[in-house]
């Protein structure tokens, strides 16, 4: 095991060990600072103990154009509480979870701090990678250089509308896993996952040997199961953000979160 992991990034190592076990990855998403930031370490540990294989931590932005109402509202609540980027980095460092953490945010938040300082801060908080939802490979040269320098993996998106040439480009720029968007649309829990996601994942797989995870609209164990038949993992965001908003209170809500994650994780063992 250790020989196999030598020289690999935390994300690559995680997917390698999942493959060894015949499992796919469950990747929950939570917004940094919603519930309030002092809860984030406990939330991350709960996600881990529930069975999360990687965790995405959302960095709130005032104008999240790729997000639907759930994550918009969650981001706004976090900003209204005065959450700062540094607070999120500190909370993630404090949580010190054993699974790779990936930041998911928007270009301006990283750019304002400077890609170099942002990447360094993210890495020092213990994160393994980052994804900027509105940054495509064509614009990402400086970002990739800064992330590489800091030892942070870069995750890029592919979408059902991506041409094969663009899939090639995104896979070339990605060093962690490729994030495949399940549908044309913004984030948000849905009742079903479009069937053509299989076709999109298959197209991506023809261009890369990197792991491919599917996100957007995945909320139920049966969605995770369907996605994990073709992809290497499933990202569940809005559903868990809703759950936290409804049930996470001072000293309660851990069991509900852990149970939900465990249910989703079970569906990724196929």
């Amino acid at each position: 095991m250790s020989g196999k992991l030598a020289g690999m990034s935390a994300i690559a190592g995680r997917f390698a060990s999942l493959r060894d076990r015949g499992e796919k990855a469950l990747v929950p998403f939570v917004t940094g600072g919603d519930p309030p930031i002092e809860h984030l370490p406990m939330i991350l540990r709960t996600l881990e103990s529930g069975g999360a294989d990687l965790i995405e931590v959302g960095l709130p932005f005032s104008d999240p154009i790729a997000d639907g109402p759930t994550i918009q509202a969650s981001s706004q609540r976090s900003l209204d509480r005065g959450t700062r980027l540094e607070d999120i980095f500190e909370a993630v460092a404090k949580a010190s979870v054993g699974v790779p953490v990936i930041y998911m945010g928007y270009t301006n938040v990283a750019l304002r701090r400077g890609f170099g300082r942002f990447a360094k801060g993210a890495r020092e908080s213990g994160a393994a990678g980052a994804l900027l939802s509105d940054l495509t490979p064509e614009e990402a040269g400086d970002w990739q250089a800064a992330a590489k320098e800091a030892g942070l993996d870069t995750v890029f998106l592919v979408a059902p509308t991506s041409t094969n040439a663009r899939i090639e480009l995104a896979c070339g720029a990605t060093t962690g896993f490729v994030y495949c968007v399940s549908r044309t649309g913004v984030t948000g829990a849905e009742n079903r996952v479009p069937a053509d996601v299989r076709e999109t994942v298959a197209r991506v797989k023809r261009h890369t040997s990197l792991p491919v995870c599917v996100g957007f609209g995945i909320s139920q164990p049966e969605h995770v199961r369907m996605v994990c038949e073709v992809a290497d993992g499933a990202v569940v965001g809005s559903h868990l953000v809703n759950l936290l908003a409804e049930t996470w209170r001072e000293g309660s809500g851990r069991e509900k979160l852990q149970e939900a994650v465990a249910g989703l994780k079970a569906a990724s063992r196929i």
């Binding site: 918009q72 998106l157 979408a159």
Partner: protein, 392 residues
């Protein structure tokens, strides 16, 4: 001549394309469709036909004798307020609609602040029989009621946006989310020279007819180029269309008026070129009102059309190069100019270009300077707000 932006759509440092991956193929398609159309004489002829017969171009260049006498300047107004619909917005909306038809799109969406771009988009959708959805902030719906009714009368669906600041910024967010979701059959008619490449370039090309006509008209009237051009800048489409044909005429000063709101010192304004820092909003890198965490700051202006924290990337580049200069005009100064133009010349301007007129009193100009102001829209839409704040 200044050239078209490079593939990634940069004006100097500014512009680019910062969007979710889902939209990139649509932006590529739009870029290609625009270049093909722009090089197609049939497209140009059709557009020129609409300029004359739909919009009512060329719009007049009107000498303003009483304002000229009072200020000791020679002041002309480019009368975009006389365009069909009441503002320069139709120049762009018709152009983009013709592109949408070429691309086979069947549904149109738009964002609007003051409602002028929404009305222009609703107008072209009625003309061509396409479904039209316009996103508008709840606060703007309240202060531009007349335009909301006009859009509905024209058959458009106006969708109120209650998130964030409930103004143009959030209407734009919502329009982008709609586009990400319905990108297959929908064209997004962006209303200003903002957004991801190719929008700032396309919108400028469709608006530059304003400056081209002005150049011809002033040469015919005065046999010389003006000393300065003045225009208001929110996103900046009327200004860039007006300025662009004069960029190489280095003796012509290019002056933009941003919304100073309650004053720059109060922080309650919408003047990113005067007070902002470069950042990424709505798909482009440009000057932006943001805090040190990169969060966009709420703006304030009496003028819904200028109440926006970003600005077109070409203006950012013109600011940095020094080719254009930008000044902030407060709500109060704009209202004063709104009254002044109404009572001196019998022209009721929209609040937006009233900001540009205010600069006549605010900036020092040499006596007898020849100035042209882009009167980008008429004031009907602002009557209700005006009647509330002005005691007449």
């Amino acid at each position: 001549m200044p050239s078209a932006p490079r593939t990634q759509g940069r004006f100097g440092l500014y512009g680019g394309r910062y969007v979710p991956e889902t939209l990139v193929p649509a932006l590529d398609e739009l870029t290609q469709a625009f270049h093909e159309a722009w090089n197609d004489p049939a497209f140009r002829a059709e557009l020129e036909g609409h300029h004359r017969k739909t919009i009512g171009r060329p719009t007049p260049l009107t000498y303003l004798p009483r304002i000229s006498d009072e200020t000791g300047l020679r002041v002309y107004a480019k009368r975009e307020d006389l365009c069909h619909g009441g503002a320069h917005k139709l120049n762009n909306a018709i152009g983009q609609m013709l592109l949408a038809m070429r691309m086979g799109k069947t549904r149109i969406i738009a964002e609007t602040g003051a409602g002028q771009h929404g009305v222009a988009t609703a107008t072209v959708c009625a003309m061509f029989g396409l479904k039209c959805v316009v996103y508008m902030g709840e606060d703007d719906i309240k202060r531009q009621e007349l335009n909301v009714f006009r859009m509905r009368l024209l058959g458009a669906e106006v969708r109120p946006v209650g998130s964030g600041t409930k103004t143009l910024k959030d209407a734009t967010n919502e329009a982008m989310r709609d586009w990400v979701t319905n990108v297959g059959d929908t064209h997004y008619i962006v209303g200003s020279c903002v957004g991801p490449h190719p929008y700032p370039f396309i919108v400028r090309e469709f608006q530059k007819v304003v400056g081209e006509e002005t150049r011809e008209q002033i040469l015919a009237e005065e046999n010389r180029l003006p000393d300065a051009l003045l225009a208001c800048v929110g996103g900046g489409s009327n200004a860039i269309g007006f300025f662009y044909p004069f960029l190489e005429d280095k003796a012509v000063r290019l002056i933009g008026a941003e919304a100073g709101g309650e004053g720059l010192a109060t922080g309650r304004h919408a003047a990113p070129l005067c007070e902002g820092t470069p950042g990424v909003l709505h798909g482009a890198y440009s000057y932006l009102m943001q805090d040190d965490e990169g969060q966009v700051i709420p703006t304030h202006s009496i003028s819904a059309g200028l109440d926006y924290p970003g600005v077109g990337p070409e203006h950012s580049s013109l600011k940095d190069s020094g080719r254009a200069e930008y000044h902030a005009v407060t709500d109060e100064e704009a209202l004063d100019a709104f009254m002044w133009l109404s009572r001196s010349e019998g022209i009721i301007p929209a609040f937006e270009p009233a900001h540009a007129f205010a600069l006549l009193k605010k900036l020092p100009f040499d006596a007898d300077s020849l100035l042209i102001i882009n009167l980008s829209g008429r004031g009907d839409k602002d009557m209700e707000t005006a009647s509330r704040v002005l005691e007449l």
